[in-house]
């Protein structure tokens, strides 16, 4: 085993590359975080559109039945109701699958939550092709684009269940509209309870020596990027650095400036290439710091049925796909 380049300053899980690493769904972290937020602040209320157990709002509902509102299969209404709750000083979390919320109820979110500037937390589950067997209808690949174009809102996409829990607690504390994006598949826990989570501050996870490429990742692809970084070093002595951008908006532009120093940036996300994290970063770089970029994401196409691992591989979102993108970036750079 060669040297490990995990950033020692942020207490990452030392087992992240081992077979012992614990897997958990991000929604479990959300369920715990919401329950804790409810205990910390009695203004916190939860709403769901007939998906209490799929969104793990049932943990909260069990302890705080009077603060839990079942909306039935009606996401547009759920958005408006949450705006009204927030107008009366509640802190509503609205939970559904991302294709329905913020997919179906986007205009209600735009007008009654964002333009109205109400303190509502929109929680979108089943993001990306990693949703797996449910197929294209249920794999949200556009939600980051839909949310990040709205003024006033914060957009967060955690990489593991611990980060999901911290993001949920942070969202409850900040008095602004927030979108939280969760994926369905169990994933390795990369962080520890000690790893810092600050909204708008990206974390450097892997710090290769004299890195030639920066990999900027979010959500389920963060772990794949770490695998890619390790393989590239062990097998080919290609050195990279990997950042976890759990916050898509506001973008951590300080870290983007730092990442640009490698002269090549690869952005990875389980989302359309258009409009997501890659798009956001490209908007910044083209205006402030023109930088060579490669995108890992869906190429203007819908997903399909399959196991998450098959789909990640098929669409080039796994470590091999990321390695290919890194090599493309290197070729263009040199």
């Amino acid at each position: 085993m060669s040297r490990n380049f995990l950033n020692p300053k942020i207490s990452l899980n030392p087992d992240v590359f081992s077979l012992r690493v614990k897997y958990e769904e991000t929604r479990e972290g959300f369920g715990r975080g919401l329950l804790q937020a409810g205990r910390d602040d009695k203004r916190v209320v939860a709403l769901t559109a007939d998906l209490a157990s799929s969104t793990k709002t049932d943990y909260f509902a069990e302890e705080f039945p009077e603060r839990f509102f079942e909306m039935g299969v009606a996401e547009q209404n759920m958005a408006g109701v949450s705006s009204g709750l927030a107008a009366m000083n509640k802190v509503p979390f609205i939970a559904s699958f991302a294709v329905f919320s913020p997919g179906r109820n986007w205009e209600q979110i735009r007008t009654t939550i964002c333009l109205n500037n109400q303190n509502v937390k929109i929680i979108g589950f089943h993001a990306g092709v990693a949703t797996g067997p449910d197929g294209a209808t249920h794999q949200a690949l556009e939600d980051l684009a839909l949310m990040r174009v709205l003024p006033n809102i914060i957009v967060i996409s955690p990489a593991d269940s611990l980060e999901a829990e911290k993001a949920t607690l942070a969202a409850a504390r900040i008095k602004k509209p927030v979108y939280l994006r969760f994926f369905r598949e169990k994933s390795p826990i990369i962080t520890t309870p000690e790893t810092r989570f600050i909204i708008g501050k990206a974390n450097l996870l892997w710090q290769g020596e004299e890195p030639q490429v920066s990999i900027i990742s979010t959500g389920i692809t963060v772990f794949q990027a770490l695998l890619a970084a390790k393989k590239l070093w062990v097998e080919e002595k290609i050195s990279v650095q990997v950042f976890n951008f759990h916050t898509i908006k506001p973008l951590d532009t300080q870290v983007l400036d730092l990442a640009a120093r490698t002269g090549a940036v690869v952005v990875t996300e389980d989302h359309q290439k258009a409009g997501g994290l890659g798009g956001a970063i490209a908007e910044y770089y083209t205006q402030k710091k023109p930088t060579l970029m490669e995108f890992v994401g869906l190429n203007d196409e819908f997903g399909q049925t399959g196991q998450a691992v098959q789909l990640l591989e098929h669409y080039g979102l796994d470590s091999n796909g990321i390695i290919t993108a890194v090599k493309r970036a290197l070729k263009r750079k040199n």
């Binding site: 209320v45 009077e66 603060r67 509102f69 909306m71 039935g72 009606a74 547009q76 209404n77 759920m78 958005a79 408006g80 109701v81 949450s82 705006s83 009204g84 709750l85 927030a86 107008a87 009366m88 000083n89 509640k90 509503p92 205009e107 209600q108 007008t111 009654t112 333009l115 109205n116 500037n117």
Partner: protein
């Protein structure tokens, strides 16, 4: 509930006339905006802000106030004119309707003006918000809260699926303190409601969703007063008041014509309209 004496009715009639004049004046200055619905709802707005609502124009954020959610935000000229005359902001501000950097935005925006409870315009989501407020109130003050939540809707916006999602939820919750008022003026942008997308039997539809339904003449203060009283006296069910109104009410040239839904009177039209309104005895200058 405050008694509605005959003298108060006279006062309200005069106030409604002032509001209509202010609507016409400001729309003719702005050059665009929604005339028919604004004039049609002037009597109901007058009743609510000058008799029915528990509110305080000097303290627009007073937490104990009743809430009025205007779902069909496009009739905001009537909301603005009523708020101004009720003392929320100076009447002179009405000249800035739809002007650059004005608090009187083309559709209402929360925070832009005192007294605006929510941002609205896109149809079908106002009732959802009123329900959210009523839910929060029930959590804080229990099922006998004396705070009331009013939601004003257009008939056209009942085409929206979101409206019926909200109607279904309110029926389930059985709020005693939620009062929806539908402006049943039978017009929408593309024509008469029954031609565009028939709503009848409208009262039966609401009843089927477990609402108490009251139908009134939306220009008769006694009927408005009685309906609000009835709404407040029934427990365990929300109430909808289907208010039959005449679009463009008060100005003969504008009445009952759907082409006046979305346009403002020009100078000539406005002069004629104001003359007509003033001759009804509501002249501001006579005070």
């Amino acid at each position: 509930m405050k008694i509605l004496y005959p003298e108060k009715i006279k006062f309200l009639e005069k106030k409604a006339n002032e509001i209509r004049q202010l609507i016409i004046e400001s729309l003719s200055i702005s050059g665009s905006g929604h005339t028919a619905g604004s004039l049609g709802m002037a009597d109901i707005f007058t009743y609510l802000y000058f008799h029915g609502l528990n509110h305080n124009p000097e303290k627009p954020d007073w937490p104990e106030r009743d809430r009025l959610i205007l779902s069909n935000g496009h009739i905001c000229p009537v909301l603005y004119a009523t708020l101004a005359l009720a003392g929320y902001f100076p009447v002179a501000e009405m000249r800035k309707l739809r002007k650059f950097k004005s608090g009187l935005q083309g559709h209402p925006e929360r925070g832009a003006l005192p007294g605006i409870e929510t941002t609205s315009g896109p149809l079908g989501s106002g009732l959802s918000q009123a329900i959210g407020m009523a839910l929060a109130d029930k959590l804080d003050n229990g099922p006998t809260s004396e705070r009331f939540f009013y939601c004003l809707l257009s008939d056209g916006e009942l085409n929206e699926g979101n409206s019926w999602e909200a109607i279904m939820l309110a029926g389930r919750e059985g709020f005693h303190n939620l009062i929806a008022i539908v402006d049943r003026n039978n017009i929408q942008i593309d024509g008469y409601t029954e031609d565009v997308m028939p709503l009848e039997p409208l009262a039966d539809k609401w009843r089927a969703f477990n609402w108490q339904v009251i139908e009134i003449n939306g220009h008769n203060f006694e009927e408005i007063h009685e309906a609000i009283g009835l709404a407040k006296s029934v427990f365990g069910r929300p109430t909808v008041i289907i208010a039959h109104t005449i679009p463009g009410k008060g100005v003969l040239d504008f009445e009952r014509r759907f082409d006046w839904h979305g346009k403002a009177p020009d100078k000539k039209e406005s002069k004629k309209a104001l003359k007509e309104l003033r001759s009804f005895g509501g002249n501001l200058d006579e005070e």
